[in-house]
């Protein structure tokens, strides 16, 4: 199950308070993730990448233009659009066990289905590699495991669109690779639309079908690059593919906004 999610001429202006001037976060961004596409958005830090995802989630509304899910403009958090936060620890419920965190999105359903749903949530936990941790509390787990709980909860919410807000930036490098592979596996099984925001160019290429590159402030869309690397992706084969290196070069150059010869030279 998946839907397309698009930004249609979206401008977001944050009103300055008092004497501060208004702050234009984005100017006229048009970008669309097709159903079941994995779209990555990269940009220099502070360019408001997360703001873009918050718009997609309906947590904030655009000043001009609209964000469209399927064919409907988003004016509030829509069902089926699930946000995976960078601060996973703050997004989990410390007073609930792991399994009850995963159950959380399902608890609006009739009680008769509880047992069935619980079994389903156990299955999600098994898929993210947390079988046996159902009755622990989030604060008893490592950072990487906490993000796995958040991923399992996102699966339980049955996402049509999964928004990933630098979800692996707070874990160590090895855990990050494991989580990247996990997300790709789940995406290939469930075929939701995925939009990833990151400042990690390698991560964007490794995961995505297309990479949208954002420019400096006021942020606008600079270019969209087709990745075109074969799937399933592999942490070794994909990253060692000459095309991967070429893409990394091009995107990094685009981000640094310099001509080819000057990239990364000091």
């Amino acid at each position: 199950m998946s839907e397309k999610l698009g930004f249609d001429h979206v401008t977001k202006v944050f009103e300055g308070s008092g004497s501060e001037p208004d702050y234009v976060a984005f100017d006229d961004i048009t970008l669309e993730a097709a159903p079941s596409e994995f779209l990555a958005i990269v940009g220099p830090s502070g360019c408001g990448k997360s703001t873009l995802l918050r718009l997609a989630a309906g947590l904030i509304l655009p000043t001009r233009g609209q964000v469209v899910l399927g064919h409907k403009p988003i004016d509030a958090p829509p069902p089926g659009v699930i946000y995976l936060f960078q601060q996973y620890a703050k997004s989990l419920f410390a007073w609930r066990t792991v399994i009850d965190n995963v159950m959380f999105p399902l608890e609006g359903a009739p009680r008769a289905r509880r047992a069935e749903q619980r079994a389903q949530c156990r299955e999600y936990l098994r898929q993210v590699g947390l079988a046996g941790f159902e009755d622990k509390y989030p604060w008893q787990l490592s950072g990487g495991m906490q993000q796995r709980v958040a991923i399992a909860r996102a699966l339980a919410a049955n996402p049509e669109v999964l928004l990933l807000d630098e979800p692996f930036s707070a874990v160590d490098a090895l855990t990050r690779m494991e989580l990247q592979t996990l997300v790709l596996q789940l995406w290939e099984q469930r075929k939701f639309t995925a939009i990833l925001v990151t400042h990690d160019v390698d991560e964007a290429i490794f995961l995505a079908d297309r990479v949208a590159v954002l420019g400096a402030r006021p942020t606008s869309l600079k270019e969209i690059i087709d990745v075109g690397l074969p799937r399933p992706r592999d942490q070794f084969a994909t990253r060692e593919d000459p095309r991967f290196l070429k893409l990394r070069h091009d995107i990094t150059a685009s981000l640094l906004a310099r001509s080819d010869g000057h990239v990364a030279s000091v």
Partner: protein, 256 residues
């Protein structure tokens, strides 16, 4: 583990200073430095105290005080939590209630005793209302700050997961701000106890406060001190119970 044994070590040391004071006091009494009529020795007081306990005479006043206190404290805790969450989550309710809260909160509650006597009469209702008035504000303020201080990510998680407003309040906001609610309830515990004792002294027919004042007026100084010991034990026991409950209810505090 090391923390726990450290705390235990501190516990032993923390007994040293009261023990020293009691020794000096006892010694001063025995050496005749103090007036035995006004200031009985600790061992004499303990003897009367143990008599109160073993004869069961302690029970009725103790239950009277604890009963009045608990009724007021539970009402105050529920009311304070409800109002705190309401004011923190609704701008309208904040606008309506804030002036009222801010005008009542700074009043030293004993000043309201005569007013309450006038309107509610001299009786249990007055005492319960006093405990409520003393306890409600710390809970309310702490709850309000707790809810306002919640991480936006937590509330946004609830919003993106399509959780209804009422479920968000009961399943997210309430448990997430529980550590702060309990911090307010801990302050309220002390204040409420002070007020129930004061109320019993001024208007009681029974209870620990009444006993302390009654024995003072009859010059039964040892008995008076023994009832003060009862009060100290009660306060200490309630604090200890509260800490145990707190650790059970919010085991994640300071860890996430």
């Amino acid at each position: 583990m090391s923390h726990r044994s450290e705390a235990r070590g501190m516990g032993l040391w923390s007994l040293a200073s009261p023990a020293l004071v009691l020794c000096v006091w006892e010694l001063a009494g025995r050496l005749g430095w103090t007036n035995p009529i006004l200031l009985p020795r600790p061992l004499q007081i303990i003897e009367v105290f143990l008599g109160l306990v073993s004869s069961g005479a302690v029970l009725s006043p103790l239950l009277h005080t604890v009963g009045l206190f608990m009724i007021g404290y539970v009402i105050a805790s529920l009311l304070g939590t409800a109002l705190g969450i309401a004011m923190a989550t609704s701008q309208t309710l904040y606008g309506l209630l804030e002036p009222l809260v801010e005008s009542l909160r700074p009043i030293p509650k004993p000043a309201l005793v005569p007013v309450l006597f006038l309107f509610l009469g001299i009786g249990k209702a007055t005492m319960i209302v006093l405990v409520v008035l003393a306890s409600v504000f710390p809970v309310l303020i702490s709850t309000f700050q707790g809810v306002r201080g919640l991480d936006p990510v937590l509330l946004e998680t609830a919003r993106t997961l399509q959780i209804s407003r009422s479920r968000t309040i009961f399943s997210v906001i309430l448990p997430a701000s529980l550590p702060m609610i309990l911090a307010g309830m801990r302050v309220a515990l002390g204040l409420g106890l002070v007020l129930v004792i004061l109320a019993e002294m001024l208007a009681g027919e029974d209870g620990i406060g009444f006993r302390i004042l009654d024995h003072e007026r009859s010059f039964q100084v040892r008995e008076m001190f023994a009832w003060i010991v009862v009060l100290v034990a009660l306060g200490g026991a309630m604090m200890k119970l509260f800490e145990i409950a707190e650790r059970r209810l919010v085991p994640w505090r300071g860890r996430s």
